[in-house]
Every structure is written in structure tokens, then in C-alpha cells.
């Protein structure tokens, strides 16, 4: 990846030196997409910021109330719990999905023919919507008509969604089932890009499969891992569909994650101001956590690649 960006940069430098001024498009070419994006993404984002300082029920016009929403959220036990739950689910997601998708991806990148056929099955979940996946698992885990009714040895009394730990376990497992294939695909792409020479050299030096994995594959997949973890973190922090369909934030408020709480505040309690404040907290937390991941991993090369103008 970084080699590529260096190559394009030197290519560009050469073009500048040779002085051949190529025809370049004007900024107008970017206008349709930019205006469209401003209107439907940036304007709402700015509105969230404004609305988070108001009291608004959706009918009358919004009333400014300063930091009231935020101080209310600070004292709100459900909100505080939701942040803990969201971070917990995100961490559980990263910890379960990373090893499995890494192994799957590296395995699928291998040369054997049967792997292509098996990966075709392995990757099926990434075609499904979170809605479909949640609906299917809810039916399968139904305590009366699903698998738990038949497999008491595995599921005990079968009411997995009746307790907080059970619900968190189910949400983590369903997340793993759905998202591990997507991340395996990312790792597969990364693993394919590792130069074969490295493995040949290691094999000549007598390094076995495990040493090859830990000394070549893992370090080479570092950038890939950061991409994957950031995607998992942002996805985990905004978990909503699975919660709505599998647990409705319950039992009680035991799985009311932040995004779900925002939805409840906005579209069930019609506290749009408070919901906007929650949304703002979500954006800030998601951005901060992504930045922390980037910082911790020393992800400088990606930056130059993205901004390599």
C-alpha cells in the first residue's frame, strides 16, 4: 500500500519536472457530488449540533436551553449505563471478531482449490442485512420453538434473552456471525498482498507454519488490522438494528446501547433535543476511539496515502 503511494508520488513529481502540463478538470466536476453530500450529510450533522442545545418535541419550534440536555444526560443512569454497554459490546466484538476473521482470511488467501469453494459458503453472511440476520437468529434462539427447546444440554432453560449476560452473549455472537466474514475478506485481501518471497525465505531458514504466521503474516497485516479494527469499532459503537430486533434494549434497560437509547428518546419519547445530544456524544466517542486506534498503531502511512494530493 505505502509502496504504491510512493510510486504514484514519484510519478507525479516526474510529471511536474518534465513540465508537461496535462489537461486537468475544473472544480465544477466535483460540484454535484459535493453539493449533494453537503445537503444530505453535512447539513444534518450541523443541525444535530444545534438541536442538541434545544428542547424540541417535533411539533412546536425548538427552544434553546443551553447545556440542559447534556447535564440531564450526565445524571441519567440509563445513558451512563448505555455508554458502558456500548463500549463493552464494541470491545467484545473486536475481541471475538478479530482472531476469527484474521484466521479465516489468512486461510482463505491460501492457494488450495477447496478453499475457494468453502469460502463461498463462509462469506454468505456478508450478503445478508443485519435485519435478516437478527430475525433469523431470533427465530432460531426462540426458547419455545427454536434450538434451545431441543438442545437443553447446551442452552439450559433456553431463555437466552431473559438475562443481561445472556443477551450480551447473543448480541456478541450474532455480531460475530454477521461481521466476521466481512473482516475475513479484508484480511484475505491483505494476506494476498504479502510478497510470496518472504514465505519462501522463511521456509529456507526452516521456519515452520506457526513462526511464519507470527513473524511474517501478522506483522505484514498490521495496516489491514487497523482498518478492520476501526471499522469494527465504528460499527460496534453504532450497533442498533441487532439490538432493536433481538432484545429491544431489554430485559428492562439491560442492553439499551447508546444508539438504541437515542432512537427511543427521539422516536418513542419525542425528545428530539436530548436525542440529538446523544447523537452528538456518539459521533464524538466514535471519532475519539478511531483516533486512539490510529494513534496507538502508529498509522502514519495511511494518512499520507489518503491525503496524497
Amino acid at each position: 500500500m505505502s509502496a504504491l503511494s510512493i510510486a504514484t508520488r514519484t510519478g507525479r513529481a516526474r510529471a511536474r519536472r518534465s513540465g508537461a502540463g496535462a489537461t486537468r478538470p475544473g472544480i465544477a466536476w466535483a460540484a454535484p457530488a459535493t453539493l449533494f453530500f453537503l445537503l444530505f450529510a453535512i447539513v444534518p450533522l450541523v443541525m444535530v449540533l444545534v438541536l442538541s442545545f434545544t428542547n424540541w418535541n417535533g411539533l412546536s419550534s425548538p427552544q434553546f436551553n443551553g447545556f440542559a440536555n447534556f447535564s440531564k444526560l450526565l445524571d441519567d443512569p440509563v445513558m451512563r449505563q448505555s455508554i458502558g454497554l456500548t463500549l463493552l459490546l464494541t470491545a467484545l466484538g473486536v475481541l471475538t471478531q478479530t482472531p476469527i476473521s484474521l484466521l479465516l482470511g489468512v486461510w482463505a488467501a491460501g492457494p488450495q482449490r477447496n478453499r475457494a469453494v468453502l469460502s463461498a459458503v463462509f462469506f454468505i453472511p456478508l450478503l445478508l442485512s443485519a435485519t435478516a440476520v437478527s430475525v433469523v437468529w431470533r427465530a432460531i434462539l426462540d426458547p419455545n420453538f427454536g434450538l434451545p427447546a431441543q438442545m437443553h444440554w447446551l442452552f439450559g432453560n433456553g431463555n437466552l434473552l431473559g438475562s443481561q449476560s445472556g443477551s450480551i452473549g447473543v448480541l456478541t455472537f450474532v455480531g460475530l456471525w454477521q461481521y466476521a466474514p466481512m473482516h475475513a475478506l479484508i484480511y484475505q485481501g491483505g494476506a494476498r498482498a504479502i510478497p510470496e518471497v518472504l514465505y519462501q525465505a522463511a521456509a529456507i531458514d526452516g521456519a515452520g507454519r506457526f513462526r511464519q504466521f507470527f513473524h511474517i503474516t501478522l506483522p505484514q497485516l498490521r495496516t489491514t488490522m487497523v482498518t478492520s479494527v476501526i471499522l469494527m469499532v465504528v460499527g460496534g459503537l453504532t450497533t442498533f438494528d441487532t439490538v432493536l430486533i433481538l432484545t429491544q434494549g431489554g430485559p428492562g434497560t439491560d442492553t439499551t446501547v447508546t444508539a438504541y437509547y437515542m432512537y427511543e428518546q427521539a422516536f418513542q419519547s419525542f425528545n428530539y433535543g436530548e436525542a440529538s445530544a446523544i447523537a452528538l456524544v456518539l459521533v464524538v466517542v466514535a471519532t475519539l476511539v478511531s483516533l486512539i486506534v490510529v494513534r496507538l498503531s502508529g498509522y502514519g502511512s495511511m494518512r499520507s496515502e489518503m491525503e496524497g494530493l
Partner: protein, 273 residues
């Protein structure tokens, strides 16, 4: 690379994962061909004695035909919008000089970090104000807008790989920016273009939050929302519900069967950036 001995551990691991993926899919598929009473009495695992298509009929009588059509319209429109606005944008980002263009690119990078959930309240308000609530257009526009950042990033990645020698050669021939775009950039960006089509189509087909908040009536409902409503209303009819699930994934599945390479490569392109 020659491997000395078979990797038993990996083989075992992949079998476990095959079971984890295969079992729910088996239950899902089998359930849709059995009667509701057989599902509840025999349990989801046993193979039914007597197969029926009744569940698919139930799904259709619950409006899934209409939801299906709506989803198709939404998906096709989102893909069309993305294909219309992203290539010129990516071309500009890669080729144009100046601060405005780097500002524009940064705007889209910022967009990558903005989750749909974060803007859903003002979006609800805006779409209402625009008189687009409960319409397919009101669904298409935000969905398309939110697939722009990833598509832009992927396509600029592809377009950066076109060497400047090629641009110079075309400029020597006196080509206009449009001709460069049409005859050089687009043909050489096929990989990136198919990636963004795959990504945008999956986003639109599988989208849930925008439909949940921005639509209401049956005439503008998409399949994901249909599934959710079916579950809340007739959750006990698991076979009927699961038949609806199978229908909702069928088109993507058919594409997967016939164009798996393109689809997987497309998604890999999205993930790799």
C-alpha cells in the same frame, strides 16, 4: 509455495466455522418449506416429512411483492446516483490542483466517520420539511448520500493508479478533460467502478435505519422494514417470517452465484481502502 504437511488445525477450524455458518442457513431454508405446526412440534432441526410452499405464499400475501419492487427501485436509483456523481468527483480529486479540491476530499473523509445514526433526527426533520416523508425519493436521497464517502475513497484509490504518462499522452493529442475522463479514466477504473456498484447496491438493499424512520405505509416499504414489521406482528409464524427472509436475500444470492468473483473482489476493494 510447497507446503510440507496438511494443516490439520486449520482444517478443523474451518469445519467448525462451516458448521456455524451452515447450521442457521439449513434451519432457515428447511423452515420455509414446512408447515407452521411441523415447525413447532418437530423443532427446527429435523427434516420435515411433508414439504409446502405455503410460507412463500404467506410472505407474498403480506405485501412482500410490493416491498420487493420498492427495494429494487431504491437500489437501482442509489446505484445510478452514485455512478453519476462519484466518478467525476474522484476524477477531480485525483487530477485537479488547488486547495478547494483538497478541502472537498477532506469533507468526504470526514463523512466516513459520520454514522447514519448520528444524523437521523435532523434527517427526519429535513425529509419531512421537503415533503418527502414516506416516499421512495425520501429514502433514495439520504441512502445515496451516505454511500458517497466510501465510494469516493475507493474510486480515488483506483484512479490514482493511472500513470501520469497516460494523461500526458492524451494531452499531447489535445484531449479535453471530458475526453480524458471518458476515454482514459473510466475504462481504466473498471475495478473500482464495480466495487462501488457492489457496495452501494448492498447498502441500499440491506439498509434499515432510513426506511425505519423515513417511511411508514406499505406503498413505500422496503423488504428489511417488511421483515421487521412481519416479525413484530406475526412473530409466531416463524416459517412464514423465514420465507420472507429467504425472499429478501434471493436477488443478492443469485448475483453471488453467478458473479461471486466480481462481488467478492468488489467488497475486497472496499475493505482494502
Amino acid at each position: 509455495m510447497t507446503r510440507q504437511r496438511p494443516n490439520y488445525l486449520a482444517g478443523f477450524g474451518s469445519l467448525v466455522w462451516l458448521g456455524l455458518i451452515g447450521l442457521p442457513l439449513y434451519v432457515l431454508l428447511i423452515a420455509t418449506f414446512r408447515t407452521q405446526s411441523s415447525y413447532s412440534s418437530e423443532g427446527p432441526l429435523t427434516f420435515p416429512h411433508h414439504l409446502t410452499l405455503q410460507n412463500y405464499a404467506t410472505a407474498f400475501s403480506n405485501g412482500f411483492g410490493q416491498y420487493f419492487l420498492n427495494t429494487l427501485i431504491v437500489t437501482a436509483s442509489v446505484v445510478a446516483i452514485v455512478l453519476l456523481v462519484v466518478p467525476p468527483l474522484a476524477y477531480t480529486v485525483v487530477r485537479a490542483r488547488g486547495r478547494t479540491v483538497s478541502l472537498v476530499f477532506r469533507l468526504f473523509l470526514l463523512g466516513l466517520a459520520v454514522p447514519v445514526q448520528a444524523v437521523i433526527v435532523p434527517m427526519f426533520y429535513l425529509i419531512n420539511q421537503a415533503g418527502l416523508y414516506d416516499s421512495l425519493i425520501g429514502l433514495i436521497l439520504p441512502t445515496a448520500a451516505f454511500s458517497l464517502p466510501v465510494c469516493t475513497l475507493v474510486l480515488t484509490g483506483t484512479m490514482r493508479e493511472i500513470t501520469s504518462e497516460l494523461y500526458e499522452a492524451m494531452t499531447m493529442d489535445g484531449a479535453s478533460p471530458f475526453r480524458v475522463f471518458w476515454q482514459l479514466v473510466l475504462p481504466l477504473s473498471k475495478g473500482g467502478l464495480s466495487s462501488i456498484v457492489v457496495f452501494a447496491a448492498l447498502q441500499a438493499w440491506n439498509g434499515f435505519l432510513f426506511p425505519l424512520i423515513l417511511t411508514q405505509s406499505d406503498s413505500s416499504k422496503v423488504v428489511t422494514l417488511g421483515l421487521f414489521n412481519f416479525q413484530t406482528e406475526h412473530g409466531v409464524n416463524a416459517p412464514g417470517l423465514l420465507a420472507a427472509v429467504v425472499l429478501s436475500m434471493l436477488p443478492i444470492f443469485i448475483v453471488y452465484l453467478f458473479a461471486r468473483r466480481a462481488l467478492v473482489q468488489g467488497l475486497m476493494g472496499v475493505g482494502g481502502k
